[in-house]
């Protein structure tokens, strides 16, 4: 994820993500609104470290491009 070198819970497989083709499903469904399209890649990514690890982004992604890890503080 290009916003930050720090490890965030929401991992996006840039090869699988189709945000650059207009998909915004994960960004739409996140209750905390932490996901955005990274202008550098056109792909989805985590901008705010405010994840509730609730998984709508992962479950609703049409290309299974997302994997959510439990935030480090809770692991």
């Amino acid at each position: 994820m290009s916003f930050s070198p720090i490890d965030f819970p929401v991992k996006v497989d840039l090869n699988a993500c189709i945000a650059d083709k207009g998909c915004t499903v994960c960004i739409d469904v996140c209750p905390l609104d932490v996901l955005v399209i990274d202008p550098a890649t056109g792909k989805a990514g985590m901008k705010y470290d405010e994840c509730w690890y609730c998984l709508p982004c992962e479950k609703d992604c049409p290309t299974q491009a997302i994997r959510v890890d439990i935030p480090y503080l809770l692991r």
């Binding site: 916003f3 739409d28 209750p31 503080l73």
Partner: protein, 594 residues
């Protein structure tokens, strides 16, 4: 992290006009909107959501069961009302409980007809389980992960207007004291939105970001952290009465993970809460303050910590538990256990108690409503976790959503839009957008962290006056800090607004807790300086309301006469939660084979 230059942000204002405005699109909100529209299809009904209606609120990923289904053949409304009267230590308005109980079964059938899946036996009857002390009310939903999809489909069919990513911050009140609409801003574009409405229904959920989880992670809360107490704060500033704020929500959870552990899913399958020796120490895992008191004592005592124990169960049962727990309400639970290398088959799972919150769905704290979901402000309604109907849970949110939607639709039929007070609009614009204009100051995250750390330090039960008084002084310092918060974009502006909601809730929680000089509801309101329950003085509701001068007033509201009186045996049931050693004489003489 990128910083948006806030000078690039062009702030504009939009106006929307509707008849019914529902704030909060989680559980109660969609139901309220659907029912208002069904009752009067000519009405304009707008459902406003801070996140996205598709996946918002407490049930964003689904729900694994109904905790309080009142189904003929298993329970009667009278029995349920008595159970909750006792579970909430007598502080209930039984009319509101009856309004839930009598409409509970019809709501289950309606949800069933919409496609929500409930567990049924081989005859097609609902497979209700016993978890509570007296009655039988738990209906599992092993395939409950689709519930938001079902609601969304129904919203579309009913032609409810939906708007997402709008953060409501204040209810507009007209000169004559009735509702005129609400104020909100878009957490992406920053657009300020004035919504004119005849009726407003608050369905904004719990105040879930009040206490700080023991992990220190701000968003590791039991409740969906989007629910920051927005509605409690909005109702307060609108002049509505709130009730039972001192009856905190505290839940038994997996340690460091926000998932509930036991009662409703594993309990009926043979799992239970155990101490370090693997012994059961509470008779029923039904969540109540008294149960949490025993949990707290066991944690702190020599037999702690406390564990979820299912390792004695058959493989088939354990994999069934896993399937339900890891695919419904908290689907990341499996990977949490994997990360810790814990397995239900071989390990007891360490538990802990949650941060404090306000949530009538689980305990009793909320905006005061009557049996029609009306608050004390004309045109303002409330439903779901934020409306004071004790132990109401998800099904209660649906039933009160229905009642609120129907009440609001009837109210609109005889009401014109009230005039908008431009002073309120401008005052709120200043308050909300000020952090964008500041060039230097405090980050919303740091102020929130400090505030919630203070909530833990000074409000976490057991409570004592001097500590809460110091807490109030520290909260006032945070109130001054709000004037220094800096935000660089609308997202951070949302977090800044939420800090003010959390602060209002903290102040209400401290003042209501100080006011009730007795102990009640087990751990939820355990006062070290008034350790006994005192029915002579405190068999009353404690109300919080903003008075004419703008100050927070706290006062008693007498209990309505009971419609059904629990008998002495029933009254004692929730007082005797701890398992007695074999051969011990139980002082109340109560049989627990109820």
């Amino acid at each position: 992290m990128q910083t948006i230059n806030n000078e690039d942000l062009v702030l504009t204002t939009e106006e929307i006009e509707t008849d019914v405005l529902v704030i909060g699109g989680g559980t109660a909100g969609p139901m309220a909107a659907i029912k208002a529209k069904q009752q009067d299809p000519s009405l304009r009904v707008l459902l406003l959501e801070k996140a996205n209606v598709k996946r918002s609120g407490a049930i964003s990923m689904g729900m694994d069961g109904l905790n309080n289904a009142v189904i003929p053949g298993y329970a009667t409304p009278e029995q349920y009302v008595k159970e909750i009267t006792v579970a909430n230590d007598g502080i209930v308005n039984q009319k509101t409980l009856f309004a839930y109980a009598e409409n509970s079964y019809a709501m289950i059938e309606e949800l069933d007809s919409w496609g929500v899946k409930f567990e049924k036996d081989e005859n097609g009857d609902y497979a209700v389980k016993k978890v509570h002390h007296m009655g039988t009310y738990v209906l599992p939903m092993p395939e409950g992960h689709d519930i938001k999809k079902v609601l969304y489909r129904k919203l579309k069919q009913t032609r409810v207007n939906v708007t997402n990513r709008l953060v409501a911050t204040r209810v507009l009140i007209a000169d004559d004291g009735r509702v005129a609409g609400a104020l909100a801003f878009d957490c992406r574009s920053g657009v300020y939105t004035v919504i004119r409405a005849k009726a407003v229904i608050l369905c904004t959920g719990a105040a879930g970001r009040l206490g700080l989880p023991a992990s220190g992670y701000l968003f590791g809360t039991y409740e969906n952290p989007t629910n920051a107490g927005d509605g409690y704060s909005m109702a307060y500033h609108a002049g509505a009465e709130l009730s039972g704020i001192e009856c905190f929500q505290i839940n038994p959870l997996i340690k460091d993970y926000n998932g509930p552990a036991c009662a409703y899913v594993t309990g009926p399958m043979g799992g239970y809460t155990a101490n370090a020796q693997g012994e059961r120490f509470i008779e029923s895992d039904y969540w109540s303050g008294q149960m949490m008191q025993e949990f707290h004592q066991e944690l702190a005592g020599g037999k702690g910590p406390v564990f979820l124990k299912v390792d004695h169960l058959a493989e088939e049962t354990i994999s069934n538990i896993e399937t339900i727990l890891h695919s419904n309400e908290r689907p990341s639970r499996g990977r949490f256990h994997q990360g810790r290398s814990t397995d239900y088959r071989t390990d007891m799972i360490e538990m802990h108690i949650s941060e404090i919150g306000l949530c009538s769905g689980h305990s009793a704290s909320g905006v005061w409503v009557n049996e029609h979901a009306e608050t004390t402000v004309p045109g303002l309604y409330a439903a779901g976790d934020l409306a004071c109907v004790p132990h109401n849970y998800m099904l209660g949110a649906f039933v009160y959503g229905r009642l609120a939607g129907e009440s609001a639709a009837s109210y609109c039929a005889n009401t014109e839009l009230a005039e908008v007070d431009t002073k309120q609009v401008e005052t709120e614009r200043q308050r909300i957008f000020a952090p964008l204009a500041r060039k230097h100051g405090l980050s919303p995250t740091q102020v929130e962290y400090k505030l919630r750390r203070l909530v833990n330090d000074y409000l976490q039960p057991p409570k004592v006056a001097r500590r809460m008084e110091i807490g109030l002084v520290r909260f006032e310092e945070i109130r001054a800090d709000l004037q220094q918060i800096v935000a660089s974009n609308p997202h951070e502006l949302m977090r800044a607004a939420e800090v003010s909601f959390i602060l209002d809730c903290a102040e209400m929680a401290a003042k209501a807790s100080l006011f009730r000089t007795e102990s009640r509801w087990g751990l939820y309101h355990a006062r070290q300086d008034y350790s006994e329950r005192n029915d002579a003085e405190w068999a009353v509701h404690v109300q919080v309301q903003k008075d004419q001068s703008g100050a927070m007033s706290i006062f008693k509201r007498p209990l309505e006469p009971y419609i059904v009186e629990p008998d002495d045996v029933e009254k004692a049931v929730y007082q005797q939660i701890r398992i007695q050693p074999k051969g011990a004489v139980v002082s109340s003489g109560v049989s627990h084979e109820l």
